[in-house]
Amino acid sequence: MATSCRLPDFTKTKGFYFIMGKYVLKRIGLAFVTTFIILSLTFILVKLLPFERPIGADSQQIAYFDKQTNLGYVYRFENNQDEKYGEYLYRSPMDKGRSFYYYKVPVLEQYVRWLTNIVTKWEWGYSKSIMPNVSASVIIMERLPYSLRLNVISVIFSVPLGILLGIWAALKKNTMTDHTISTMVMVFISIPSFVLISFVLRLFCYELGWLPSTWPPATAPTKMKIMGYIIPVFCLSFGSICGYCRFVRAELCEVLESDYLLLARTKGLTRRQAIVRHALKNSMVPIFPSILSEFIGILGGSMILESLYGIPGIGKLFITSLTTKDYDILFVDMAIFTTLGLLFGVLTDLSYGFIDPRIRMGAKK
């Protein structure tokens, strides 16, 4: 089996672009449907959570339920609905023997209203507690760059380092170097991220005092702002470096033991030539697409980091919106994560075709 031979250029195959275009559109369409289903399920499940009630005197209860009415979560009626409409929450006496009756707006009604606003006005709602008044999409767009910047830097930092370590370990297979790298990888890959972050904070911020212990504010000097990236990038990269190292080592070891590499050597290539021209190239085939999926993986993993280090990104926003029940923010954040995840999924699939010409997207058997 000699895979290093030149393969036919499938892009010149008749109808290639039509097939690929159709495939891409189909995948994007499916991604859209998946996003819709995920958001709908999230909306309905979140809205089915029990309605929180305040503890306090009648005046405080009335104030609370009136506010919920103003926010659109509750309906206020002037007669008892006898459970015909939504979930009964509270009754407040008015004057002259009349009362206000508060009912939770039915979930499906909220869902239709929310969906209508998005579809007809592209309005994703407004923050209720995180930043009262402000449009959810404005908040997201303000936070997104922080998360993206961190993650891009982290990927740039972790991929080469992880691959290099992996290559080194593979080339030094079963030596002390390999054992040391592999052991370190196994140890560090097993440490939960919040433990690692706490450890790094304690060591470098509180014990040694070398690095800022929280994300530097906008008014901090440039030097401090740059130093502020060290801990988050390090913590985000750590898992990736270990992952890539393990992955590359495994792939490269397999390739190094393959028949075609032996053939290449017997044909007169030096070890270096065989590795650089054949082994590395082939071992990278499954690795490069994983870089794309790694990106979305890191984005998810930054939730904890952002919360612990005080980074105003969308990861922290997701957790805050969940705990403060600022649902409009939560849904936009969820939409961003879902869309990015699915988009990178599509890109990953497409990348296979470009990296390995043997893989043809959308082609029938």
Binding site: S59, A63, Y64, D66, G97, M131, C205, P217
Partner: protein, 935 residues
Amino acid sequence: MKKTSKLLAVLLAVVMVFSACSSGTAPTTTAPTGSGAKQDETTTKQDETTAPVVEVPWDGAYMEKDDFQAYVIHDLNLMVESMEEQLDDALYSKVKAAEADGEAAIMAANTVAEVKDAYAKAKTAVMEAVPLFDGIVSYKKESNAERTNVLGILERFAISTGLTGVSLFENGSYVMYNPRVTLGTENFIVGYGFGVLAEGSITADLEYESNPDWKRYYHVWETMDPGTLLYHNDKGSQVGDMYAYVAAAFYTNFMNDTKDGYDWVPELAKEKPVAVNDDDGDGMATTWKFEVRTGKDGLKYTIGSELESRQAFNNREVALEDYETAFKFLLTQSNKLERGTETANASSGAIAGAKEYYNATANGPSDEAWAKVGIKTFEEGGKSYFQVTFQEEQTQFYCMYYIGSSLYMPIPQEFIDLVGTNVDGVPQLFSYNNDKTESPVDNSLVLGPYYLERWDSEQQVVYKKNPNYVFADTKYQIGGVHTKIFPAAKDDQTAGINEFLAEHFDVASIPQDYLDQYRNDPRTRSTTGNSNFKINANACDQETWEYLFGVDGVVAQSAKEEYWDLKPLMGNHHFVQGVSYSIDRLTFASARGNIPSVDYLASNYMSDPENGLSYVTTEAHKKAVAQLLDDTDGYGYSLELARDYFRMALTELEAEGKITPGTKENPTVMEIEFAWMYPSHEESNHKEIKNFIETAFNDESVSGGLYKIDCKFWVGNEWSDVYYNKLMVGKFDFGFGSISGNSLDPIGFVSVLSSDQDISGNFTLNWGVDTNGTDDYPIVYDGYRWSFDALYNAVNSSVVAVQGKNQAPVTFEYTELVKNEDGSYTGSFTLTSSMPDKIKVTVTDVVCCNYERYRNGDKKYDEASLEEFTVEEKNGVYTVTFTVPADLAADYATGSGTSEDPQGITGFDLYYDQEVDGNLSTGLYYSVDDVFEVE
């Protein structure tokens, strides 16, 4: 304890033997048994020289007879002791005589049932020696000292009947301050603090701060960015705390000269309030006025925004009408401000006409409605005045207190208009606008000690000293406040202290893990709390529970299959006492950095709010809680007492046949459920409490291993479930929780101990006795016996008391409509005066209401006064008969055709004036629903 009681009991026994011998009657004797062992039947050899006596063996299972009698007598003694100060010599002699008779009867009793019976009779005799109060009275105008005494009496009753539950700790803490901060005082002042900002200073730079202008700012932190300073629309404490930096009020507090308390000082006002209508000269009035500062006095606004449109308001002079604007802004319903709704619906300190204005402004401000609100500003003799009219009379202090909210900080209408409203119609004052092109810095125009300098979302909020502040020259000498948004501290309790120790912050509270290390650090100070956490108890018997929570419960309704399984143990007061004694509060609270406490009210509740006197430091309180502290470690813990009370409870319950013992090998296990707020409470609280109780109860010495207790854990989905699904509906044994009230009005706050939901505002958390009853435990005040509810009402407002119980001045009955042949309807009300000679009623109107159209039709409300009604009075019973004309009934029955499915719903409002002991109340009404026939 109770060593004195035991001695007394032994002494009494000796006296009885002596007196019995001297009168020729043979004493009965019993052989004591070892404590904790089930007794064998014993017989006593009779003295052949005395008359034969029928020997009844002591049937107490787990307690010796003399011990049991001593404890019961102790209960009786405590009861009598609570009456002593409130009775004259003659009455007290009667009580003491009844007590002595009771003690003798208890000592003479031979069985558990006989002892309990003797105690019950003694209690009745003691209570009946004191007359029940009948009449109409108010103690609201009594001095603070006298009202504090009443609070002590009410608290004592609540403790004696188990209504206070079992207190655990006060949420005080240990706090560390950076040595560069000089505190206003080294000792925490209850209700005020250390005076860090107002009286303190900063003497060195904070090296960590990179901005040179902020190095001497006070550096604090918050776990999250609230995104707004609009306190008017926020119920959490965080926005309130941050708003306080920039807000000013009519009156404020500053530390006193001796640095051990605080004074009330006019801030925006120039003087203390002056009563306008104190007609009877008692110092109380509904209308108060005082001079206020305006631009003429140099009072100017400050804003930190650099926007040109906002800069126009910087250094703008405060106009007199801006004071009114602040109230209008808050109370206008269309502004949708949560605290506006709350202020309009306030039950205490309510401003006259505020609720009516609120209800009339759903679509925007109304000048016509505002004219009826009790807020006025005017110029007089070249001075600017503010006048407020409350719905009820207030003292000068409470006028300052109620009007002193920083929510009423003046604001120009032009600024409100400039800032505008968001898409939901909520004003954007102190907030971001919808597209975040304006920040709270741009939308906050302030008069307080600081103004907003910078707001970096999710990063920092910075305040700078306001040069225009009224006391800028003498107070608040620290140049600014830097608030770091520090989310890590939300989930990691050590994050804040780590930042403090790294000298990034100026203050941090010490978490549990660091307490041992830093409790005695020179940087550490201790603070008191604002809330006492407790485990509330459900001590209802079956009958009471069903009355309160059964199918037709007056508090909440439950289907029969959902009835709570009441535990016999919980209904025994001695068991609940045993639980209280079994908890080692010092260990429990200290490990958490809190303050161990048996008190119901936290330290910040003021019996004299004007002078900062905490209720828990008063003699009245100390007497009330003495019964929980005597013979304990000083925090209510005594393993010996706990076991004694558990023995007593088991002895009583077994004698009553409510529990049956198991065997040593197979003991009777009694489960008691503890309801908590959060799942984490299982580790953080429940396990330790369970250990305390089970260690005491399950000890061999208590029941010889025949009974075991098993404390179960419960938690709901939401933290509030413990209130709504457990405590407030009676479906619990013990439930963890705390509620806080107005700390300047502790006597008003104890309303939550009442079983009457009209008094407690549906916030009763402990259940057991009927607080409007007079038979369970005596409340004696001013020579009379009262129910809890009656005395509570008397000291908070006024009461009509009949046989010591709180009584509505007038009770109502309604006789349903009867249709006449001509299509008209006739109905009637019967009003019964509780005291015909002192309570008179004048019916002024009967109004027919069109609820059919209002509720089922076009929502338009109509009503019509009925001209045909008659009133007949006989011995305080007023019969009001009214007739609804046929055409009106026909019109209202169908809602004028606006209802799709008319039900004929109508209602009647009976308007009346009521004169109670010469005090006239007008415009009162009573409402009922009824139906017309639908053709």
